[in-house]
């Protein structure tokens, strides 16, 4: 990472919200500052947002129900949006979705802005809608989200269980944009986090310039399906160096 140019860095407190139009071949590193964070994330082709993250397509193409290094987050039109190029955690949750205001109220009670100022209780659903609205997107544009840094275990009967302690302070994940990608994220707690307290954790967001994936790129070659998704994506950028 040291030889690459850091474009900017921001910290985001727990319960916070953020979006950015990641330029192609820049990489977003998300670092869990205190351990136990959760980052809900949706992604869209920034040049054509109807082309958007599709988790069922992503999971079935790579025969996985968890996400880690090598996996590519794919759009419903077969494109590679983001590649997971580094991951110190090993398991990120694509199943649990995100909570609404009603869930936060029933689990943690109420803390209004009037009373608590910026320590008020926020929820992932509203945070997604706020950030999506900045790009003209709304409720109809919500997609199934990833929960980075969280893990759900599934037993043979399909029962899901939150796995505590999945991510520690300093853990990180790198997401390389394979096209211009609108990333919308927030740091609300995982909806199945059993912690009875409202205790969302902060992250650091680092955007850096990275080289285009070459022929031997790990994510490109992780599966034949990923190679084909890269080819379909590179067709969107004729003449560009891959």
């Amino acid at each position: 990472m040291s030889s690459e140019t850091i474009l900017f860095e921001e910290s985001l407190p727990g319960g916070g919200l953020w979006s950015w139009r990641l330029r192609r071949h820049t990489t977003l590193r998300i670092t869990d500052l205190d351990g136990g964070t959760n980052v809900g994330l949706m992604a869209y082709n920034a040049d054509q947002p109807l082309d958007r993250l599709n988790l069922p397509d992503t999971l079935k193409a790579q025969y996985t129900a968890r996400l880690t290094r090598g996996h590519v987050l794919m759009s419903d039109l077969g494109h590679a949006l983001l590649s997971i190029t580094a991951d110190s955690v090993g398991w990120h949750d694509p199943l649990g979705g995100h909570g609404h205001a009603a869930l936060v109220k029933s689990k943690y009670g109420e803390a209004t802005y009037q009373e608590k100022r910026n320590d008020w209780f926020r929820n992932a659903h509203d945070n997604f809608l706020i950030e999506l609205g900045k790009y003209g997107l709304g409720r109809r544009d919500l997609v199934a989200n990833i929960n980075f840094f969280s893990r759900l275990d599934v037993d043979v009967a399909g029962k899901m269980k939150f796995y505590p302690g999945n991510s520690r302070a300093g853990d990180f994940i790198d997401l390389r944009a394979e096209m211009n990608v609108l990333v919308v994220l927030n740091t609300c707690q995982h909806p199945l986090d059993p912690n009875p307290a409202y205790a969302p954790r902060p992250v650091k967001l680092t955007v850096r310039q990275t080289p285009p994936p070459g022929a031997s790129d790990f994510c490109r070659n992780f599966r034949d399906e990923n190679q084909r998704s890269f080819i379909l994506t590179e067709r969107l950028f004729p003449g560009a160096s891959t």
Partner: protein, 215 residues
């Protein structure tokens, strides 16, 4: 494999107010009023029926796979599953099921995902999401591609292993098995009777399903 609990229905097809056979590769978009029951019959077995539900009065309030599995704390759909919306409402409840397990992780096949999954030259083949696109074009009323969200695959079996692997297992359905859904609000239902020929989700042999509605 866990044992499936099968629940039969007492509804009599002779009393249905709607009875239609949907061929493989065809689509169906239809209103289902609150309190009505929709039955989908897998006539010949191992068919996949890709299905979406919308609040008929606000299409932005629609089926959400993640909210549905989280609400019941389990991945697979069967009798008793409440089909949840993206805004946290209960759209419908599965009230009978003689198959025992239905998928909502695998999504719908598409021309583009077939290119990724199988080969770049598969784009021309028919797919569920092309069926969805044609159905919403005919339906009109402002419905667009952004309303095509992550669906249910009735009669399809997509187990997740404890190691987090996603597998596409042999179907658990058979000819004549059915699932029934009771509408908890006025709904619009969108179905693609899956035409997939590239994988065994329907045993490489897409077949018709029967759709019945009771008042």
């Amino acid at each position: 494999m866990s044992t499936f609990i099968l629940t039969e229905s007492r509804l009599d097809p002779a009393h249905a107010i709607y009875d239609f056979t949907l061929l493989a590769g065809d689509g169906w978009m239809h209103e289902i009023m609150r309190g009505q029951t929709l039955r989908i019959v897998d006539l010949d077995g191992n068919q996949a029926v890709d299905t979406l539900f919308y609040n008929a009065h606000d299409l932005s309030d629609r089926y959400s796979a993640q909210d549905t599995i989280r609400a019941q704390g389990a991945l697979y759909l069967t009798t008793g599953t409440r089909l949840m919306s993206s805004e946290g409402a209960v759209l419908a409840t599965i009230v009978a099921d003689t198959c025992g397990r239905h998928d909502t992780l695998g999504g719908a096949c598409a021309a583009e995902s077939n290119q990724v999954r199988y080969a770049l030259d598969k784009r021309w083949m028919h797919s569920c999401r092309d069926t969805f696109m044609l159905q919403i074009a005919r339906w009109g009323r402002g419905v667009t591609k952004c309303d095509i969200t992550h669906n249910i695959n009735f009669f399809m079996n997509v187990p997740v292993t404890p190691e987090g692997k996603l597998s596409f297992a042999d179907g658990v359905s058979a000819g004549g098995r059915y699932v029934e859904v009771r509408a908890e609000m006025d709904l619009v239902c969108l179905i693609s009777n899956c035409p997939q020929l590239n994988n065994p989700c329907n045993a490489y042999n897409p077949t018709p399903v029967r759709l019945l509605i009771w008042p």
